[in-house]
Amino acid sequence: MEFDLQNPLTGFEEYHFDSVSALFANESDHMPSFLDFKSTDVRFSLRRHSVFLISQVQSSYKFDGYIAYLAVNYIDRFLSKQAVLENKPWIVRILVIVSLSLAAKMRNVDLSLSDIQRDEGLNFDAQSIHRMESLILDTLKWRLRSITPFSFLHFFNSFFKLGDSCLTQSLKQRASDIIFSTQYEIKLFEYKPSIIAASALLCAAEELIPLQFSSCLAAISESQYSNKEELMNALAVMREMLIEGRDYCSMLTPKSVLECEHTSSQCETHTNQDMDTIKKQRLSDLRDDDQTFQISQVQWC
């Protein structure tokens, strides 16, 4: 039985509304806590490089987007609990390899370690990999069934009472795409997965059914499950992220984790021309259900 991010608790195929309260009760266990860190903390650049490497591996192997998402969730939670002092390429690599392997195992997808390592030019022996796996598992307390925003999509979507299954599906699809891209936005780190899910659905509603947006907003914000103030703040950040993402990619916002810089000194010397040399690459990927989604990516030349 694979781990389904949209339905993380249940072993049954159908969705169980009973389990919703369990999701809300447990969601905080699966959040990274980067908030207390200084922006110069080496873990931010470790994260940035890891996310970049994951997107590279993903574009080579075309595995499902949830694996990459889950791996980044593991890395975030690992880094927010571990005092890593150095940003060394090998640390990033082994972290990425092991997190991807754990995510693939949870998703029940065959992604062998040798496959992941093949193109990366740096091979680790089995013992090092196993040690890293143990370290990550200990740090995450074996809580690999991450409760992510995807887990709440179905629940909040049901609030809209659209009565049109096609529209419901499109909203969910668009909200999923937004959630995938939120993983790059540091300003959204402080929000709980449920709040991210609700905001993503509202952003999707604003784009697809603008006339019904206010009734959707009312339905969600009046529910006992969301704090209105938090929701409005998250929604504002997400809107801003999407607007910026449209004309350039969201990772280039000043406070973003994926800031375009290798070191801070290099960053200071960036000119517009340097920015032009940054290739914006769109990665299309096929998911299980054959629907495509895109994550905007930056690649350094």
């Binding site: 039985m1 694979e2 781990f3 608790l9 249940t10 072993g11 049954f12 169980h16 009973d18 389990s19 369990a22 009760a25 447990n26 092991v98 392997s101 754990l102 195992k105 949870m106 029940n108 062998s112 370690l113 089995a126 990999i129 196993h130 796996e133 143990s134 598992l137 200990d138 307390k141 074996w142 809580r143 690999l144 069934r145």
Partner: protein, 303 residues
């Protein structure tokens, strides 16, 4: 594992040895469940990852034995996993045994049976709301704190990661007494109802102080059930005669269930009847059981 001081071996569970131990730093008593891992070059097996993470998630309930942490060690190149659980002093089997024989032989207090059953239904409802079936509920798997009157479900979830063996670690035959008829008849579509059958058997056993259906083979187990509840027909359980392991059985008429549990009042018998329905679709759910009139006299505010 230096963190823990092993005090004694308390059992050999289905999946390996269980030790009572003490956390050296806090003095807390814990149960260490030792499991060998079959590792390959890909590291920890996916099934173990998925099951343990499920246990972690379920362990939030008061009625589930809490998984405190997981210790992963390498002993002479062989990976060993210790699941560290909270420690409870006894289990329901030993508890019932102590009331059946020896100097303290007497019936279990009615209020205690009611409270234990309520806690059991709470725990089962928690598992089911998370989409998890226990599949092996039995008195040995229900841990009890005698002083506080608390009952918690143990050995959860391991059923799939470590595939339930026919013979346990100690070569003791895995008990069939609590197994639902649809499982015994080879149905491939299990549902939450399999656990409710077990709950019914456990309920009756608390009242009787002996097992309701003590079969020693799958066939004998079915005969025990049919002798009391009558041989099921397609009318009362649609599709029963097309189940994989269905045979022709002697035709028994249903007996009066109350006669099997003479100490139980009418509300209790009604609840038990609903737990022991042949057709899994008719069997009461854990959530509905919690609302049954049998529990009306229970002070639910304490739970």
């Amino acid at each position: 594992m230096e963190k823990y001081e092993k005090l004694e071996k308390v059992g050999e569970g289905t999946y390996g040895k269980v030790y009572k131990a003490k956390d050296k730093a806090t003095g807390q008593l814990v149960a260490l469940k030792k499991t060998r891992l079959e590792m390959d070059e890909e590291g920890i097996p996916p099934t173990a990852l998925r099951e343990i993470s499920l246990l972690q998630m379920l362990s939030h309930s008061l009625y589930i034995v809490r998984l405190l942490c997981v210790e992963h060690i390498d002993k002479n190149g062989k990976p060993i996993l210790y699941l560290v659980f909270e420690y409870l002093d006894t289990d329901l089997k030993k508890f019932i045994d102590s009331h059946r024989k020896g100097p303290n032989a007497r019936a279990l207090p009615t209020a205690l049976i009611q409270s234990f059953l309520y806690q059991l239904c709470k725990g089962v409802a928690h598992c089911h709301s998370h989409g998890v079936l226990h599949r092996d509920l039995k008195p040995q798997n229900l841990l009890v704190d005698k002083e506080k009157g608390i009952l918690k479900i143990a050995d959860l979830g391991l059923g799939r990661a470590f595939t339930v063996p026919m013979k346990s670690y100690t070569h003791e035959i895995v008990t069939l007494w609590y197994r639902a008829p649809e499982v015994l008849l080879g149905s491939t579509h299990y549902s939450t109802a399999v656990d409710m059958w077990s709950v019914g058997c456990i309920f009756a056993e608390m009242v009787r102080r002996q097992a309701l259906f003590p079969g020693d083979s799958e066939f004998q187990q079915l005969l025990h059930i049919f002798r009391l509840l009558g041989t099921p027909t397609d009318k009362q359980w649609p599709g029963v005669s097309s189940l994989r392991d269905w045979h022709v059985y002697p035709q028994w008429e249903p007996q009066n269930l109350a006669s099997a549990v003479p100490a139980l009042g009418p509300d209790g018998v009604d609840l038990l009847t609903k737990m022991l329905k042949f057709d899994p679709a008719d069997r009461i759910s854990a959530k509905a059981a919690l609302e049954h009139p049998y529990f009306d006299s229970l002070d639910k505010s304490q739970f």
